[in-house]
């Protein structure tokens, strides 16, 4: 009796495992397919990114930038960096404060020589 139960249990276990393995197999294959699809998508994205980088590099090539700077010189006034572009902060003139309003008027003795007559 015991033996029969064990046989039945074993048979059920085999069927169960078989079913599980079947499902796992299909799940794995789906996962592989997904990964392949993702790889393809990432590959495409990389390709697009590479294209954009290449275009960016092409549009920023020094020859073109020089030409653009020359074309737009009127508006931008860009010049190549030169030693004159550097300065020393010590030689920057401090802003001169506005002259305070004169509240204490000074008497003027003379309004100065006029144009018509020569003082000498």
């Amino acid at each position: 009796m015991m033996r029969f139960v064990m046989y039945v249990a074993a048979a059920v276990a085999v069927m169960g495992l078989g079913f599980w393995a079947y499902q796992e197999n299909y799940r794995t294959q789906t996962a592989i397919k997904d990964v392949r699809l993702l790889h393809a998508q990432i590959g495409d994205a990389h390709e697009r990114l590479g294209m954009l980088r290449a275009e960016w590099a092409y549009l920023n090539r020094p020859d073109r930038l020089v030409d653009l700077a020359e074309l737009n010189f009127d508006r931008l006034g860009l010049l190549p960096l030169s030693p004159d572009s550097f300065g020393d902060p010590r030689y920057i003139v401090y802003p001169i404060p506005d002259i305070l309003p004169i509240t204490d008027p000074i008497d003027i003795n003379s309004i100065g020589p006029s144009d018509e007559e020569d003082p000498l």
Binding site: I32, H39, D63, P80, D88
Partner: protein, 594 residues
Amino acid sequence: MIRTPLRPLARILKARETGEDPSAIEKENLRLRHEALADRSRARAESRLLLLGAAFALAFGTIGVRMSTLAASVPEEPRVAASGNPIIGQRADIVDRNGRILATNLATHALYAQPHQMIEPARAAAELAAIFPDLDEERLLKDFTGSRKFVWVRRQISPEQMQQVHDIGSPGLLFGPREMRLYPNGPIAAHVLGGASYGREGVSSAEVIGVAGIEHRFDNLLRDPANEGAPLQLSLDLTVQAAAEEVLAGGMMLLNAKGAASIIMDIHTGEIISLASLPDFDPNNRPPALTTGDQSDSPLFNRAVQGVYELGSTFKIFAIAQAMEMGLINPMTMVDTKGPLSFGRQRIRDFHRMDPVMTATDVIVESSNVGTARVALQIGGVRQKEFLAKLGLTEPTQIELTEAPSGRPLLPPRWGEVNTATISFGHGLSSSPLHLAQAYATVVNGGTKVTPTLLKRETPQVGPRVIREDTSERAVDMLRQVVTRGTASMGEVAGYEVAGKTGTADKPLTNGGGYYDDKTITTFASVFPASGPKYVVIVTLDEAVESSGDEPRRTAGWTAVPVAAEMIRRVAPLLGMRPLIEPLAQASVTLTSN
């Protein structure tokens, strides 16, 4: 189980009655029992053997079937178990020291034809010729109507061209994916990058291989999938390179030079910041190599690395530095400069009148051939050769370019006394401008050997010591005086304390006997800033002539020096160096009296 007794009582009694031996009955029964036992076990063994046989047959059968399916099926790339990144399989990019792209890939298509699938070959040929003007219609028609089953039409086509070919609608015109190497900056740094082309080609893919320069030198690294597309970072600075090429091209044009080369090198790390050679080419469309004539006339020729020239007086500092290192002289030692010096038929003289006795510093400042030769003769040929070898002037440079080994210096076959004298002022030994940059970097960086490199480095090189630090400082001081009061007075750049040495060498005649009168190689080897040297700049012009005066001037002071000065003026701020600012004239109180 019912067991038959061995001594059944009935038969025993009967046997006893008849007087037979009852043990015979027992034996008989025992025999029968053994026989039955043997039969049973044989049957069992037989069934087991059968089972085992079946199992083996099944197992081997399975293996056989699997093997035959594997053998018959199309091979497939193992995608699941593949290690590494399966996405980035293309050739790695090349970037400059700041990560700006110098070389990258672009997906494009190749166009091929399968004429046997074409319906109207004549129309296809005519329309293709209209799309691609450089294709010959008759040739295409011949290919399409002949016996060929496969014809490459174009290696690379643009998306617009692809659409136009699509619109022809011929079933025999097909596209294959291609990866194209793109150099977005055009001819900038062309000689360093080299170029790429297709190796083995198939319909569905083609391998991109480097054909020259750094592309060829690091071909395996760039193609190695284990790097996962990590870019190759060079020591070049794209902005500096572009500015240097612009200045050099301008100088070459103004001075009517045939060719020009310039090198900017960090003297501590050995990094080449810029390496230019003109005329140049577009690596996107690399011209074919010359099949006849002088290779050095080809734009592919890298003058900075492959071109070996007699670099003239720029070599003088090596003789003087060595003499100072050996303790033979110091900067104030008086040197006899009375010429000419005679060696058999050869006479060494100076270009202009000089004092008969000058200090060692003045020998450099005034560029006296006779004075340098006298100092070199004191040093002696053997030690001179050893010293130049330590500076790397007798071997090809170690730079990471395929062309480097072809820039082998030309040494005299016999290093006699006359050679010692002439080599001290740069005649009789030919080397490339890169050699000169390497040697100058070694002399001015404190005296340790530097090897030029094109790969980005973070740390200074600590090479074997060649000269003492104080010798190095004195050499820089002498070079500075060449600019402040000597032959390179046009080399002064406000704020950058340029130091350097000019060199003017007559070009040797191509047939090997003597020199041209009116063709020179002019060189300016400079270093800046003199108070704490950081960069070496070498400018070499081939057949330059300055013709603003009454008679053409071909010396370095009038040709290479102004070009180098302009280059330093443009490039130094880009390298992040602030000029030393002269104090402004202060508004001061002036004493006056009425």
